[in-house]
């Protein structure tokens, strides 16, 4: 078996994705953690592209990098004291978290490697956007509409929650 260029690219992207994710997890500087996530999300988009899921890759970049990452940056910049950013994400005790993570890894990794997954011979996958669009307005119409209702609720709920102000002496909540 000879390694093709695509295989080498996969290994490079996978290592970069995991390394940036690990840095985001282990650094104590929350600003650096968020910027490190940029690499993770882009790496995930490239991995989606390697699996020929072109539309998902584009949505990953649009929503995660363009939306969620910016939201996280807003959360950091609006809450953290920039002067104390170096120590802005302290770790609670490592023991239980490490135990849970290692236990999950012990279960998941051998499962991923050794389980007899059903695998078909890979065919060449063309652009899948047309199929996805037809499906969203066809048999997946109900979930699609349900998600738009959820998004409307989220927009209203987020504005209401973020606008709550602490009241005066009597502690009543003013809007």
């Amino acid at each position: 078996m000879k390694l093709s260029l695509a295989d080498l690219l996969f290994y490079a992207v996978a290592v970069a994705t995991l390394a940036t994710a690990a840095y985001a997890v282990f650094t104590r500087n929350i600003v650096r953690a968020v910027f490190s996530l940029l690499g993770t999300f882009f790496g995930m988009a490239i991995l989606y592209g390697m699996l020929s899921a072109d539309f998902v890759a584009v949505v990953q970049v649009l929503v995660y990098v363009g939306g969620i990452l910016v939201l996280l940056l807003f959360a950091v910049m609006l809450t953290a004291n920039i002067e104390s950013a170096r120590l802005s994400s302290p770790a609670a005790g490592w023991s239980w978290g490490l135990l849970a993570a290692v236990a999950t890894g012990i279960i998941l990794l051998p499962l991923a490697l050794e389980a007899p997954w059903l695998q078909r011979e890979l065919d060449v996958a063309g652009p899948g956007t047309a199929t996805i669009g037809r499906s969203l307005l066809g048999n997946m119409l109900l979930p699609f509409e349900a998600v738009s209702v959820v998004l409307l609720g989220v927009v209203i709920g987020a504005v209401v929650v973020a606008r709550l102000r602490r009241g005066g002496q009597d502690g009543e909540v003013q809007r």
């Binding site: 390694l3 994705t17 995991l18 609670a92």
Partner: protein
């Protein structure tokens, strides 16, 4: 190093999920906990797409992941609002100190 197949993507997903669990359980800043949740959602999405690609129904897997991504964005927006409200009410983001349900 062998040729890339389904197992490789599952490995990346599993490792990413473990990192997410570690982040959620050990970090004390609420924003860092949110980062861990996003990592876990990404790991699940990668598994969805990998399975879908290797079982011939890429569009179905893509749809699931699209819904996951949209709901992750919604969750991040609500979490940001909650974090801002917490910051204003209790002056801290330490999840170990935010332990009362009534501000």
């Amino acid at each position: 190093m062998i040729q890339v197949g389904l197992q490789h993507f599952l490995m990346v997903g599993a490792l990413l999920f473990c990192l997410g669990i570690l982040c959620v359980l050990t970090r004390r800043n609420a924003v860092a906990v949110l980062i861990g949740i996003e990592l876990m959602l990404n790991a699940a999405g990668l598994n969805f797409i990998a399975f879908a690609r290797h079982q011939g129904d890429l569009a179905g897997g893509s749809l699931l992941v699209l819904f996951v991504i949209v709901l992750a964005a919604a969750e991040a927006a609500v979490a940001l609002a909650l974090i801002l409200a917490f910051r204003r009410q209790v002056r801290t983001l330490d999840v170990d100190q935010i332990d009362s349900l009534k501000g």
